[in-house]
């Protein structure tokens, strides 16, 4: 395309107006090339084929009207300058257009060729400057993120060396250490751990900002995570004589969330709560379902600290926010903790907020999507508007022969899950999504519409397929078990069978949830991979 020629895409349905504009354009300028279409759809199609210097746009077209017209053009080609040519002298609409990025708003009746030519020239220039500015900003952000991730990596190397030698001496591997020296070294180690946590936060915040933070949602029982958090934080609370209590709703559904990430959020919130609560106070972690919003689980951490003033409440989740007069100056961080929490919760499509009255303590609450088993079950457990007669819960457990497992364990269990899905009847059995279980083992569940005697065929098939597909023998042991899902004969005093089909599925879902969570919670907590350094 000739760089010196201005390529104009004119989207105008009135042939008279189109001719007039074309005439005006050609009058004062020989190096302009006008391509005219009469519908928005044709305009967008033309933009797909080639990029004009400018779009001249009538707002009322056969297939689009008013503000919608320029919104769609700019959404389609954000980098092409748009000048509106309108029949109506509507200043409100004109302002709206300019606010949304339209370069100029001209009234058809008042256009001279000089005026039009100048408007186009300026539109092209302004758009080019805007693009250059955007590119610079993007490059700067990329540079900043690369720089931060590089720095946090480089800081780890000397930090590792300090950590290694301090722990060598502390562990007595470099000769005896007297109690005073031991105390001093513990102080050094505490600072090393703080520095380590800051480096980690820095990298996490950078990731969150550049959209590179990842979550791997699974089906998890929150009760277990909360228990784990409290167990980890109890020593820290104990030091300050702060009570740490748990309140978990008995009917809490499973949630769809990344267990490592949510543990991070919980630890962060509890850590803050302890930090801002004076000695002899109390911190409470609760999880419940709110009637008005049954598709979410609400988790809250409340303390008896001095509360947060209203101005701070609005800023507290922002990056680098720090409370000016923290109770305990010893434990200040980078001010990234709550920002990271908010980003993690956002990635789970949840919300996080704080409610607080100065002097009355604070409550941080976040929501997570509840895992709706009933919705997944409904299509497979019913047939011709009736609940199928019997169900079996099959558990497939892969236990690695070594802990940590050798090789790419994740790839291994994902492949197993794929295989498992091929072993069931899609119309009457359901393979549940991976469960966030504790321990090194990976466990999958299948709700099968069959009875116990028949389920043997299925478990044999699963075993045969898994053993054929995977090199299981060298890596893990395979356990396959089945248990009948017992349905109650009455629910809240009413016969089970008198319930609506939807209620019956719901009851079945809660039975399954019960069987799964009992098992999850009965197991030992796993060794922590992303544990925070808490002394």
């Amino acid at each position: 395309m000739d760089q010196l020629t201005t390529q104009v895409l004119l989207i105008e349905d009135n042939p008279g107006d189109a001719d007039l504009v074309r005439l005006r354009l050609v009058e004062g300028n020989s190096s302009v090339n006008v391509h005219c279409v009469s519908r928005l759809s044709e305009g967008l199609a033309s933009l797909d084929r080639e990029t004009p210097s400018v779009v001249l746009l009538d707002l009322n077209l056969p297939d689009s009207h008013g503000a919608e017209t320029f919104r769609r053009v700019m959404e389609h080609s954000p980098n092409v300058p748009v000048v509106v040519l309108s029949g109506q002298d509507d200043e409100v609409l004109a302002m709206k257009a300019v606010h949304q990025g339209v370069q100029d708003y001209l009234i058809k009746g008042n256009i001279s060729s000089k005026h039009l030519e100048r408007s186009i020239r300026y539109a092209v220039e302004r758009q080019a400057l805007l693009r250059a500015l955007e590119m610079t900003q993007k490059r700067q952000l990329e540079f900043k993120n690369q720089f931060l991730s590089h720095v946090s990596h480089e800081l780890r190397t000397p930090l590792t060396c300090i950590h290694q030698y301090v722990t060598l001496i502390l562990d007595g591997l470099a000769g005896p250490v007297n109690p005073d020296q031991g105390d001093h070294l513990k102080t050094v180690l505490k600072s090393v751990n703080q520095l380590h946590a800051m480096i980690r936060d820095l990298l996490e915040a950078t990731r969150a900002e550049s959209g590179k933070m990842r979550v791997e949602p699974r089906c998890i029982a929150l009760g277990e995570l909360i228990q784990q958090t409290v167990t980890m934080m109890r020593p820290m609370a104990g030091e300050k004589h702060i009570g740490l209590e748990i309140g978990i709703d008995q009917r809490l559904p499973l949630v769809n969330a990344d267990p490592d990430r949510i543990l991070e959020v919980l630890i962060n919130l509890v850590d803050n709560a302890i930090k801002f609560t004076p000695p002899d106070g109390a911190v409470m972690v609760q999880a419940c379902v709110v009637e008005a919003d049954p598709s979410s689980v609400y988790v809250s951490v409340s303390d008896t600290g001095r509360g947060i003033n209203p101005e701070a409440k609005a800023l507290i989740f922002e990056r680098l926010y720090q409370d000016a007069d923290s109770v305990d100056n010893n434990r200040s961080g980078l001010g990234l903790g709550l920002f990271i929490c908010r980003e993690i919760v956002r990635l789970h499509e949840g919300r996080i907020w704080v409610s607080s009255e100065p002097g009355q303590g604070s409550t941080f609450t976040f929501t997570l999507p509840a895992y709706s088993l009933a919705k997944l079950l409904a299509p497979v457990v019913t047939y011709k508007e009736l609940l199928r007669p019997s169900f079996v819960l099959v558990r497939v457990e892969l236990t690695p022969l070594q802990v940590p497992p050798r090789g790419n364990w994740k790839e291994m269990w994902q492949q197993s899950l794929e295989t498992l899905r091929r072993c069931v009847y899609l119309d009457k059995d359901l393979v549940l999504p991976p469960m966030g279980t504790s321990g090194a083992a990976e466990t999958f569940f299948v709700v099968a519409s069959t009875d116990m005697p028949q389920s043997g065929v299925m478990t044999a098939r699963i075993r045969e397929q898994l053993e054929r597909v995977l090199d299981l023998k060298n890596k893990c042991s395979l356990t396959i078990m089945a248990a009948p899902i017992e349905l109650p004969s009455t629910v809240s005093g009413q016969p089970f069978l008198s319930q609506s089909l939807e209620e019956q599925v719901q009851t079945l879902a809660s039975q399954v949830t019960g069987m799964i969570t009992t098992r999850i919670e009965s197991k030992q907590s796993r060794p922590e991979k992303r544990r925070r350094d808490v002394n």
């Binding site: 991730s149 990596h153 480089e154 780890r156 190397t157 930090l159 590792t160 060396c161 950590h163 290694q164 030698y165 722990t167 060598l168 562990d171 591997l173 470099a174 090393v192 380590h196 990298l203 990731r207 590179k212 990842r214 558990r395 457990e397 236990t399 690695p400 022969l401 070594q402 802990v403 940590p404 497992p405 050798r406 090789g407 790419n408 364990w409 994740k410 790839e411 321990g439 090194a440 083992a441 042991s477 356990t479 078990m481 248990a483 009992t518 098992r519 009965s522 197991k523 060794p527 544990r531």
Partner: protein, 133 residues
Amino acid sequence: MPKQKILVVDDDPDLVRAMRLRLRANNYEVTTATDGYTAIASAQKERPALIILDLGLPVGDGFVVLERLQNIDALASVPVIVLSARDPQSNEERALKAGASAFFQKPADNDELMNAIRASLGPGQMQPAAWPS
């Protein structure tokens, strides 16, 4: 029982020295290398029971070492624990795919690292959990 031999590969000699002290205190025999080429040569000569491997190395980085080890029959089954300052998000999976048995980011918790070493060396059979009654 003879001591089991561990090969520590890291380009930071100070860190290598600290690792040597700690591993010896835990009753392991230690041999070391500070670059990728020497790491492979040393692995072939010394036949370690386990290798602790950094990723950022001169003369063949950690991934090159992992690949070479996989291609040497006598060494392919030696467990390799990667210990690196690099971001696990972009390196852990890649290292595991290349044959590493575990990934630890520096600075790693000593107890966790020692547990992983013991687990990789020992038979480490786990009993499957029973269905709850």
